[in-house]
């Protein structure tokens, strides 16, 4: 079936089986391999993308359900030249080791900070509880997100 949607500001049209998840469609059909697939049943959060501004698990959504939607993946958050303040903060605080879960943390934290730039540590922990990281122990991730808040207060994005 044909499905048309916007990915990172660009209109795309793909012909897919209904059973193809949005996560697989992004990686296989659109070659956007920044979105990682961990558990494939909605537990790990690695595949988190933004659909119409909301952070959602792309393994629990069909590509055909994205028809007409605006999708933003981790690739869409930065430009090629520079890291975003959130990404810089992850680097500064050593908020990743192997990096497999990082795209999911970045997209989730971006959605949170865009909507709630004043969130406190408890709120950050609650929101990130839907993402699993087996390397860092989360403390550095929470610190990175908290430290990036100031960038979202100024211009509301990036």
């Amino acid at each position: 079936m044909t499905t048309k949607f916007e990915v990172n500001g660009k209109q795309v049209e793909v012909d897919v089986e209904p059973r193809l998840t949005l996560a697989d469609c992004l990686r296989q059909n659109l070659r956007l391999t920044g979105t990682h697939i961990g558990c494939e049943h909605g537990v790990c959060g690695a595949c988190t993308v933004l659909v119409n501004g909301d952070a959602v698990r792309s393994c629990l959504m069909l590509a055909v359900q994205a028809d007409g939607a605006k999708v933003v993946t981790v690739e869409g958050l930065s430009n090629d030249a520079d890291l975003t303040p959130l990404q810089k903060s992850f680097r500064k605080h050593h908020a990743l080791q192997c990096g497999f879960c990082t795209p999911g943390f970045i997209t989730t934290a971006h959605a949170l900070l865009t909507e709630e730039p004043d969130c406190d540590a408890d709120r950050v922990r609650e929101v990130l509880s839907g993402n699993i990281c087996r390397c860092t122990g989360y403390i550095s991730i929470v610190e990175a997100v908290l430290d990036a808040r100031s960038a979202y207060k100024k211009d509301g994005a990036r």
Binding site: P18, R19, G42, T48, D54, M61, Q65, T108, E126
Partner: protein, 285 residues
């Protein structure tokens, strides 16, 4: 795992959706947010031949509040309930319970209708529907019918919904001012499935004597249920320490908990009483 193959349709009208469901001999499933159905399909617990996506159906996404109560469209998301400021007055128990549903990303897609029809024994929304005497409006080939919550939830993952019917609305009766309530749930990590959860409300008179007590438990036993003996212990009392202890003991005695990898039956029995005690204390406070 990758999903098993199926056909997909996103009809524009309810009538079309019902006809599509009926055309597949009970093998078709409505798709709302997909936050339970998609994992079930990944695990091959469900293998529907057709998914009827409800996303294009009009009028299923609204939260209507009037003197008769709160009407939640089947496609209302957890996020919508959390964001609706009117509900703090119109149904505070609903908002308190929904704060425990799953994680951030799931709450952006998971729906009232999906959860009620999935009928997981540990899920908050079916528990609230049952505790609050909700009415489900469903649409089938023969038109609409209304099913009371007590007749809707038949067992784990089993409801009175027929294969060609679609849930369109959940109605919670009006919430009077002065009603006291509490919601307590325990999971190892907030957002995970409850090992046990308790919803309680009652209406105190001017002297503080409780009546109309409703106590519901989730995550304990094979389905969400009311606890009649605990309710009887609350009614007519002023919820002093002795009454709370009595209600809590009644709740522990009344449940029929199961052992599983998350908790033993004995733990769940004790937890049920503890959670009712905490819920009643928070209701009084």
């Amino acid at each position: 795992m990758k999903l098993p193959p199926f056909e997909y349709a996103a009809p524009a009208t309810l009538k079309e959706a019902v006809a599509l469901l009926a055309s597949h001999g009970g093998e078709a499933k409505p798709l709302a947010g997909g936050q339970s159905l998609m994992p079930m399909m990944a695990f091959r617990i469900a293998q529907p031949s057709l998914l009827v996506d409800l996303r294009k159906l009009p009028d299923l996404k609204s939260i209507a509040i009037d003197k008769d109560g709160v009407r939640l469209g089947a496609m209302v998301r957890w996020r919508d309930i959390q964001d609706d400021k009117r509900l703090a007055q119109a149904h505070p128990l609903l908002q308190a319970a929904i704060a425990h549903v799953a994680h951030y990303q799931i709450r952006n897609r998971g729906t009232v209708g999906g959860s009620v029809c999935h009928a997981d024994p540990a899920a908050e929304m079916p528990g609230i529907a049952l505790t609050c005497d909700a009415e489900m409006t469903v649409m089938g080939k023969g038109g609409q019918r209304v099913i009371k919550a007590a007749d809707f939830f038949l067992g784990a993952l089993t409801t009175a919904l027929q294969p060609d019917e679609i849930l369109i609305e959940v109605k919670l009766p009006a919430w009077p001012a002065g009603r006291r309530f509490g919601f307590q749930e325990f999971a190892r990590r907030r957002g995970d499935f409850a090992m046990a959860g308790i919803a309680v409300f009652y209406d105190p008179d001017a002297g503080g004597t409780a009546s109309n007590a409703h106590v519901g438990v989730i995550g304990v036993g094979e389905k969400q249920r009311r606890l009649g003996k605990a309710e009887a212990a609350i009614n007519g009392s002023t919820l002093d320490e002795a009454a709370i202890a009595k209600a809590s003991a009644a709740a522990s005695a009344e449940v029929e908990p199961q052992d599983d990898i998350h908790a033993s039956a004995a733990y769940r029995r004790a937890l049920t009483g503890t959670l009712l005690e905490r819920a009643l204390k928070s209701a009084a406070g």
